[in-house]
Symmetry: C2
Subunit: 464 residues, 2 copies
């Protein structure tokens, strides 16, 4: 792979320009993060004071560094960054993470420094992420350049590209503390003087560690090239994108944020669709879709079955599916007959499945287990959502039976949601998600996610 991002994601060695012995300082925390993520490459802290930082010998100057360092993370005041960049280039370093802020996002003086960085990069043939980036992460290499005290970052199958510092810091913190899925690569684009979303998409598109790509963007640096690359990548793996500035209020806020002119939204929308990119509207969906795409294959079709302990939920969720374009197919007569056999005769079983009478007569676990197995076996059903009734009073089955079914029918995604006591939901989440079965607190969420997955599937299989 000749993509310029390869050394960023697979660095054999890294220099930290502006390393600090003081815990809490960015130049210290970045080293702690690298160590805690189990990086096996070599780390070169640079600080004029020398000594040792976190048990690593410190180099007193850039000029004293050995040759053949893959990446340098520069954590210096904006004004000192250009000089450091030049000195590193003199030492043969070609890839840089420019972590500091204080550039074009701040004022004209910062913009002038940023232009200087651009000149150096172009003259010397360097590559840089940032400036003003929250860094990047590559869990297969146990590497990260973030200085946000993230700790060990869980490895997973999805990768994120974000034109915001929040993703790699606070949002990732939420994923690590509130969810059970992990990430392959994370890139905070920052001010994009060099590496941009198109470079990232190109790298991730052929990255075997990345099963799906999720992007947050405010403006495209090279829209035409982005679409070209996207057209290819989206045939191989899902590309889900949130772009702000869809409305005038959002456009104003995006301009205030990155000072980049947002493109007219309707045009963007059509072009993204044509390129197979699945555009979403909510920030939270970046997390929920990431969870599902990290754990599940795409369903093979648009046929959904769900089981709920309430006719009302069946009705409301049927409405919801139809609005989302999800199909609730009728099942084969034999499977309808089998569903009928597990249920009291008074209820006419169909898809979606009212599991309440069966749960009353045969117990919660038996009803859900048999009901789910029947719908999983139906050829018209591509994905299954059990709305688990979970209260101590009605009996909480061991969630293992869902994991068994997921193992037995690996091509048909199972997305779990709930009705009942909060602590039981939390138990299910903690038990199922580490085994690769996503759960969702709210009954609408699995369907919102399935509709994103269905759009990804259609994009991958589109003609032309």
């Amino acid at each position: 792979m000749s993509n310029k991002l390869v050394p960023f994601f697979e660095p054999r060695s890294v220099a930290i320009i502006g390393a600090s012995a003081v815990p809490g300082k960015p130049g210290h925390e970045v080293i702690r993060n690298i160590q805690e993520n189990g990086y096996i490459g070599k780390i070169y802290p640079v600080n004029p004071k020398g000594g040792r930082i976190r048990e690593i010998d410190v180099w007193s100057s850039i000029a004293s560094l050995p040759r053949e360092i893959d990446v340098a993370v520069i954590i210096l005041p904006a004004a000192a960054t250009a000089q450091a960049l030049r000195e590193c280039a003199d030492q043969g370093i070609r890839h840089f993470v420019l972590s500091s802020g204080g550039f074009a996002e701040v004022d004209e003086a910062g913009a002038e420094i940023q232009r200087e960085l651009v000149r150096i990069i172009q003259e010397r043939g360097l590559h840089a992420l940032g400036p003003n980036t929250s860094g990047h992460t590559s869990t297969p290499q146990g590497f990260t350049s973030t200085f946000f005290p993230q700790g060990k970052i869980r490895r997973g199958r999805v990768s994120y590209v974000a034109q915001t510092g929040n993703f790699g810091t606070h949002t990732l913190k939420y994923i690590l503390t509130g969810e059970h899925f992990g990430v392959a690569r994370v890139v905070g684009l920052g001010n994009k003087i060099d590496v941009d979303e198109t470079d990232a998409l190109e790298y991730l598109g052929t990255d075997p560690e990345t099963a799906a790509i999720l992007i947050y963007i405010e403006s495209f640096k090279r829209p035409r090239r982005f679409l070209e690359v996207a057209r290819e990548v989206t045939r191989r793996k899902p590309v889900v994108l949130l772009k702000s500035g869809a409305t005038e209020a959002g456009r104003q806020a995006a301009i205030a944020h990155t000072a980049a002119m947002a493109s007219p939204d309707r045009i963007v929308d059509g072009m993204l669709r044509q390129a197979g990119v699945v555009r979403i509207a909510d920030y939270t969906q970046l997390i929920l879709a990431g969870k599902a795409l990290s754990m599940l294959p795409l369903p093979r079709g648009n046929g959904v079955s769900f089981l709920a302990p309430s006719g009302a939920m069946l009705a409301v969720l049927s409405d919801y599916c139809e609005r989302l374009g999800l199909h609730i197919p009728p099942m084969e007569p034999e499977n309808v007959r089998r569903l009928q056999a597990i249920s009291p005769s008074y209820i006419r079983m169909r898809n979606p499945v009212d599991i309440w009478p069966a749960a009353l007569s045969s117990g919660v676990e038996a009803a859900y287990r048999e009901g789910m197995e029947i719908v999983l076996q139906d050829p018209a059903v591509d994905a299954v959502v059990p709305v688990m009734m979970l209260t101590r009073e009605t009996g909480v089955p061991d969630p293992g039976f869902i994991a068994e079914l997921a193992g037995k029918y690996p091509a048909k995604p199972i997305l779990v949601t709930f009705s009942g006591a909060k602590e039981c939901m939390d138990e299910y989440k903690a038990a199922l998600e580490p085994r690769g079965i996503p759960t969702f607190q709210e009954i609408e969420q699995p369907f919102a996610v399935l509709s994103i997955m269905e759009r990804c599937r259609r994009a991958m299989n589109r003609p032309g």
Copy 2:
């Protein structure tokens, strides 16, 4: 108040026909529920075996009961219900909760029994909730007729009416275990042979305990009268309604559930809007809107301010607000100046508020506290959403400062959401919600709820 529901919600005495000494049986659990909710009226268990149940003397027959019992809860097989109803009527009981299933929702034999119940009710001038109801609850009286082992039901300011057994059982269980708000009245309508959504709306419309009414419905029994009542009630308090059957798939599921023909949806939609009823589309919004309406006054206008630690979130949420019809007003120059004063000069402060630079320079608590106070003081701002950045690493302020601000500006709802570590979010929820400040796990939710509140406000203030 002459509404026929008064004795249901304010019963001075209750008979349990089909009381059971066996824990777990509905005829036992209903008594446990009543006791655990602190009911101070008299309880008359009826069971031919006599003896004592849960330390209450059992009456061996309906005929032996004293006169002047307000309500009887009949928990007998469907086939025995009609006879019990007659005997109770002979004893002067006029109000009934018919808890058993096995009527029209089951088969033609059940439908025939149900018709018999209707005849008895009409001939004897009785009133009945159900059959096939999960019961009703009246927390100001510490009373409930549900046999689902709910335990103590938290008292609150919102009331729910639901044409589904799930609400009063599993959904209420979620509210009691996963949320901190409570309810005033809850009604499970069941098969609606007598008490229907219109009766409930009429009662709740003048009920001083009920600040807002939330309804789940599949079909209207008396649509014209419902709209008449709604037109009145919606000028006094919010009425939020979820009706399934909005799509063909939902209509099919609703028919399978209650066998009632759903009305053409577009007509329903327009008529509800004209009557000031705020229709929602998601089941989860019944919970989220209930939380906000139980804790907060309606905002006085459509002006929203929010503070987020990320320009990306500001942009995405601005898009979201515009889609929802929420206005993000510019602030008074003096307040913009004050915001600027708490922030590094490089960022041009505006509404919505990028609080990140201020948090970096002054600390998280000071930045949010001062930023929130400034926007709360702006006359164009009617509600405020802080997206709290919460990670141990950046410092988690004591949430008390938000409660202080809420107390100082009681007319301006504050809805809290988060970016950061899950355990910090949980701490905030546990600290703030019991003090009347709703929190929301997902950053979009406060705005979805504010848009429902804004529709309620407009409905209350509509001309005509």
